[in-house]
């Protein structure tokens, strides 16, 4: 389980994951905020529908892609949370396209 080691997390704001409200420190990036809330599956891969979540946290691996405010493919470890942000698990299923 991820958790904060600071007793005082500073100012909190509200973001929504799949409609669920989460109060998170305003300095966090999206990936960190979700991990701390116990969310580890950020998306499903396009080809094999595998579940994926953040791996590198430094903007290199692109496994933390997620839908933020209606836009797919947002690199959540590089985007700061903002109040009212609506986040959804990303599902880009292309594998069935030609069948």
């Amino acid at each position: 389980m991820f958790r904060s080691i600071n007793n005082n997390q500073g100012e909190l704001i509200t973001i929504y994951f799949e409609g669920r409200a989460l109060n998170v420190p305003k300095d966090h990036n999206v990936a960190t905020a979700l991990l701390e809330a116990g969310i580890s599956s950020f998306r499903q891969t396009a080809l094999n529908n595998e579940s994926r979540g953040p791996y590198c946290m430094m903007g290199v691996c692109f496994d933390c892609l997620i839908n933020i405010n209606g836009l797919d493919n947002q690199q959540s470890c590089t985007i700061q949370v903002s109040d009212g942000m609506k986040i959804r698990r990303q599902v880009i299923n292309t594998s069935g396209k030609n069948e």
Partner: protein
């Protein structure tokens, strides 16, 4: 294209970039420095200003060594753009970058690539499961957000792995186990270099101290293992390791992997810089002369972006590169360049003395660089397995470019950063040739993915 001109454009504000920027500014060069992070420090000194205030002893001594660097950098008058993504560097020294969704370009008379290192790929069976992250990621969560993970299993080798585990233990965070994959033979091989290493005993001793304290803390410490893999369907269920021919199971939800770092190649390669295979570090390094000048005129590469030598060395190499660029720009004389670079060279050579020892000790075993199990995913983005790569080799694939066309391996958004090294080494092994013959992906722009709107918004054209 009309773009702003600078004497020196620096990509990356880690120790290499910051040192170079401050020094170049001191000698009256106009400097633009671009960095993706929201604050200076690079990887080693990430969020250092933020952590300065709190009570963060767990970050350790070396983290604090960065403070003077950042302070000097902050005092300089360089144009520092944070949260800025550089997505193109041309051999004509034009840099394209984007801030807040808008693109800009700038022309440098000299360019310094100081984009640092990234963690090596660690292609184990199960490394794409939810709950598996790199140990560097664990450290970033800790440094940047004060977020930790209890009861995780750390797997791998390298000073950074011990450092992070040590930081966890100092902060009182329980670790379920450390599975050390350092090959047993490495200790003997490293001994050969111990004489040189003694000249920089401090850095060697520090590693030992971390390790000793980790073991002393009572954390389960597993070494001399033959193989390791991660089980689970969507998320991690357990780590399995093979010891003396027997597989043992360790239930857990989180795994942190690490087996060393390697240079960020994409920026230098996309500008056309030459590279060579470095057998000692088992990775590609960018060819530079003693001043950091690459094979492309006017483009220098310093710090871990050229070859791995650590944060202290990066700061020295950044300064030396800056002095050479200043000389090329006619802002200092050649004798100034020599005189001023002396102290940096001295400190650098002390750092480099320990390098062969560290490299030999922590060189990851081939079996963890070239996966054994054919089901292992090699390219995470395009979900390409070792089996698919082998099949392509059977159809006649001779190199990374062809492999890309046959399997899409390396074609995803990470642009080969998490599979490139593995692919070079897999092909080398399968084809029975040298790494130099196999080569690396052809790196093409953009260096980082960029939206069509950002491309369309390019100013001045």
């Amino acid at each position: 294209m009309n773009s702003t001109e600078y004497d020196i454009i620096i990509i990356g504000a880690g120790p290499a970039g910051m040192s170079a920027a401050a020094l170049a500014d001191h000698h009256k060069a106009s400097v633009l420095i671009l960095d993706e992070n929201c604050a200076p420090g690079g990887q080693i000194y990430r969020a250092i200003e933020k952590n300065q205030k709190g009570d963060n002893e767990w970050l350790g001594q070396s983290h604090q060594e960065g403070l003077p660097l950042v302070e000097a950098f902050r005092r300089s008058r360089v144009n520092y753009q944070h949260s800025t993504k550089v997505w193109h560097l041309s051999s004509a020294k034009v840099v394209h970058y984007s801030v807040n969704g808008k693109s800009h370009s700038a022309q440098g008379k000299q360019i310094l690539v100081a984009t640092g290192a990234q963690e090596r790929p660690f292609p184990l069976l199960g490394w794409t499961l939810n709950g598996v992250m790199s140990a560097g990621a664990a450290q970033i969560l800790l440094k940047e957000s004060g977020v930790v993970c209890e009861d995780a299993v750390f797997v791998g080798t390298g000073p950074l792995l011990y450092l992070i585990a040590h930081q966890y233990i100092s902060a009182g965070i329980p670790i379920k186990a450390i599975i050390d994959t350092t090959p047993r033979g490495n200790y003997l091989r490293a001994l050969r270099y111990s004489f040189g290493a003694l000249k920089n005993a401090k850095s060697i001793l520090q590693g030992w101290c971390w390790k000793r304290e980790i073991i002393k803390s009572g954390t389960l410490y597993i070494s001399n293992i033959g193989d390791v893999r991660i089980n689970g369907s969507d998320s991690v269920a357990s780590v399995e390791y093979c010891q003396k021919g027997k597989w043992k199971n360790l239930n857990c939800k989180h795994v942190f992997l690490h087996q060393g770092v390697a240079p960020e190649l994409n920026t230098s390669l996309s500008a056309g810089c030459d590279k060579s295979w470095n057998e000692r570090q088992a990775c590609w390094t960018i060819d530079v002369d003693q001043y950091g000048q690459s094979s492309v005129e006017g483009i220098s590469v310093a710090g871990d972006a050229s070859s791995i030598a650590g944060g202290v060395a990066a700061a020295q190499r950044g300064s030396i590169a800056a002095l050479n660029m200043l000389y090329t720009l006619n802002l200092i004389s050649s004798s100034d360049r020599e005189a001023l670079s002396k102290p940096f060279k001295k400190k650098l050579s002390k750092e480099m003395n320990a390098r062969p020892f560290i490299d030999a000790l922590f060189k990851p075993h081939l079996r963890y660089r070239v996966p054994q199990d054919s089901r292992t995913i090699v390219c995470r983005c395009e979900e390409v397995t070792l089996a698919q790569i082998k099949e392509s080799i059977n159809v006649g694939c001779k190199g990374p470019s062809q492999l890309k066309s046959f399997t899409r391996c390396g074609m995803g958004p990470c642009q080969g950063r998490l599979c490139g090294l593995s692919v070079t080494e897999i092909l080398t092994k399968e084809l029975g040739v040298r790494e130099e013959q196999v080569g690396y992906y052809n790196i093409r722009p953009p260096i980082k993915p960029v939206t069509l709107a950002e491309l369309a918004s390019l100013d001045g054209s």
